[in-house]
Amino acid sequence: MAESVSRKGSAEKIADSPDVTQPVVASKLRKEFDDLVAVDDLDMRIGRGMLYGLIGPNGSGKTTAIKMFVGLLRPTSGHAQLLGENVPLRRNIHRIGYMPQELAIYPDLTVHENLELFAALYSIEDSDFGKREQELLKVIDLAERRDSLVSQLSGGMKHRTSLACALVHGPELVFLDEPTVGVDPELRVGFWSYFQALKASWKTVVLTTHYMDEAVRCDIVGMMRAGKLIAEGTPKDLMARAGASDLETAFLEFSRRASA
């Protein structure tokens, strides 16, 4: 299927389609910075309700790809569609969520004020916001620190607040760039059960991670290297194809094959 699109799709814009069984579609998506090709003609399709993990070393193009999806970077060439709309999104922009790699929350505001700001930007009604906030604060275990300034929170707490800000408007599709970095193991378990819950309600989660033990929990794992998707599949499938007993070895194997 990917091939049938890529032949023609590289030159023409993909028509907006109501097909939301695949909320993320990338076709020959490319980003160059001066001499560097950060994302190299990426073709990618992610099904609805999937928990998709992008793994790969630093500089492999994961973050650049996500930034193009959420409209922060303009692709050099190629196209991407989210929820059936070409990026940069207009109509559907309120239906996606994004947690940048950096904390990206206001240290001089309280947890509540941060959440309230992003809720307002997504036009969440005050009455809905109250309920939503309580729910999220429970997930991130910060109900008691609701009125603390973010600058006074520990690193892990800040990280949790950042996650909550990406989810406050209840997006259908959410991009999380390294959501569990610096989060202690116990809370990481909590995060993952929340990601599973999102998935259970047919939300699509795309995340990047460095932890292979986390990647195993994803439905689909995409392995990136030098701006290209070198392998994609369920963790089991990937390990079987590489003849490896863990994802890390599998990644090295695919990496070797790609450069061969």
């Binding site: 922009i93 994004y98 950096e102 990206a104 929350i105 206001y106 001089d108 700001l117 930007l121 800000c165």
Partner: protein, 387 residues
């Protein structure tokens, strides 16, 4: 443009300020300090200058021109006569001791009247009436000229006394030419009335520029900007949210200055206060836009602060805040007319001192509206280009 999102961004900026007490303190205290310090130093006339007088004039005190001058000088407080050596105690030792005081900077001036002062004055007057010539009665004034303002205050005060004494019945000399000022504007205006509008403009400029450049440098370095731009908020809404928040801060600050200036220094507000504040608001919005635009060039707070003197000093010197534009050398005059502060200050002055209305300050308003519009458009364009 979605008003709710604009307001959400404004509220965010104001809330950040609210949590930062030191900055709030700075925002209130800086203009207060500025207007108070400027008010007392510039606003006050030069007075109580310590002087010594050695009077050798031998004419009896009730007929002495020197004594008449000394008495008249004492009626005003420009000079404080620390010690006056009369004809009986005046000697070279007194002159030397007094001159030493001036040299040691313990006094600003020494005046020495010679023995024949009154006689010389009378002779000169007589000669004037007869159409002949005689040396005028003169006295020496030794002044510490370190401060030109002091020199000018002393000499002006002396001239005033000389004219008064000459006009008195004893001499009956009335100057044949008299210029009578009829004030079209600025009845009872003092220097502080002239520069209070300047200080208001200056403070609004500093605060709005600084808040916006620093907040936006943070926005970039914290990556919160990425979050804003990936949300439904448009570039225009972000820019408008900023302009509203910091324009408001500049406005409130100007109100603090205005109130202080009125209560403490009793400055004049002839025109419409709302119009004056609107000028400040427009100017503040323009400057926060300038900060917004320049923030893209600054990588961190430190680099942002470096812009302050570059923006501040030319405007302080060239925009007629403390000196009229006419004092700016011809070569630099075109620069003055390119600076927005020039128009803000001129507009404010016209409203506050001349009592002008909207129709009279249309030029200033137009320039400021243009300034604000261009800055806001550039800000939005800069954000768009970032993607």
């Amino acid at each position: 443009m979605n008003v709710k999102r604009v307001l959400a961004i404004s509220r965010k900026n104001l809330r950040s300020l609210k949590h930062d007490r030191r900055t709030v303190g700075f925002l209130v205290m800086m203009p207060l300090l500025l207007i108070t310090i400027f008010g007392y130093t510039f606003g006050g006339e030069v007075k109580d200058l310590d002087v010594y007088i050695v009077n050798f004039d031998q004419t009896p005190a009730d007929q002495s021109a020197a004594q008449a001058l000394i008495n008249d000088l004492a009626t005003r407080d420009t000079m404080n006569q620390v010690q006056v050596f009369g004809p009986d105690s005046a000697d070279t030792a007194a002159v030397d001791a007094s001159l030493a005081k001036v040299r040691e900077a313990k006094a600003w001036a020494l005046m020495v009247f010679e023995e024949d002062f009154t006689a010389d004055v009378a002779a000169a007057l007589e000669a004037l009436r007869n159409g002949t010539f005689s040396m005028p009665g003169s006295f020496r004034v030794y002044i510490d000229g370190t401060n030109p303002n002091v020199v000018s205050a002393i000499m002006t005060d002396l001239q005033t006394s000389i004219q008064k004494v000459l006009a008195s019945p004893v001499y009956g000399v009335v100057p044949p030419i008299a210029a009578t000022p009829e004030l079209v504007y600025g009845e009872d205006a003092e220097f502080i009335d002239f520069f209070a509008p300047g200080v208001m403009g200056l403070a609004a400029m500093m605060v709005t520029f600084m808040l916006s450049i620093i907040s936006f440098v943070h926005e970039r370095s914290q990556s919160t900007l990425d979050r804003l731009l990936s949300s439904p908020a448009t570039e225009g809404e972000i820019v408008a949210g900023y302009a509203l928040a910091f324009g408001l801060v500049g406005l409130i600050q100007s109100m603090v200055i205005l109130l202080t200036a009125v209560l403490l220094f009793d400055i004049q507000v002839q025109g419409n206060v709302i119009l004056a504040l609107s000028i400040i608001l427009l100017f503040g919005i323009g400057n926060q836009g300038l900060g917004f635009v320049l923030s893209s060039v600054a990588k961190n707070e430190f680099q942002a602060v470096q812009f302050m003197p570059i923006i501040l000093f030319p405007q302080i010197l060239l925009s007629g805040v403390f000196w009229p534009i006419e004092a700016v050398p011809d070569l630099l005059r075109p620069a003055s007319y390119c600076l927005p502060l020039t128009y803000a200050v001129e507009g404010l002055r016209s409203v506050m001192i001349r009592g002008w209305g909207v129709g009279d300050v249309w030029l200033q308003l137009t320039v400021l509206v243009g300034f604000a519009a261009v800055m806001l458009l550039l800000s939005a364009y800069g954000l768009k280009k970032r993607r």
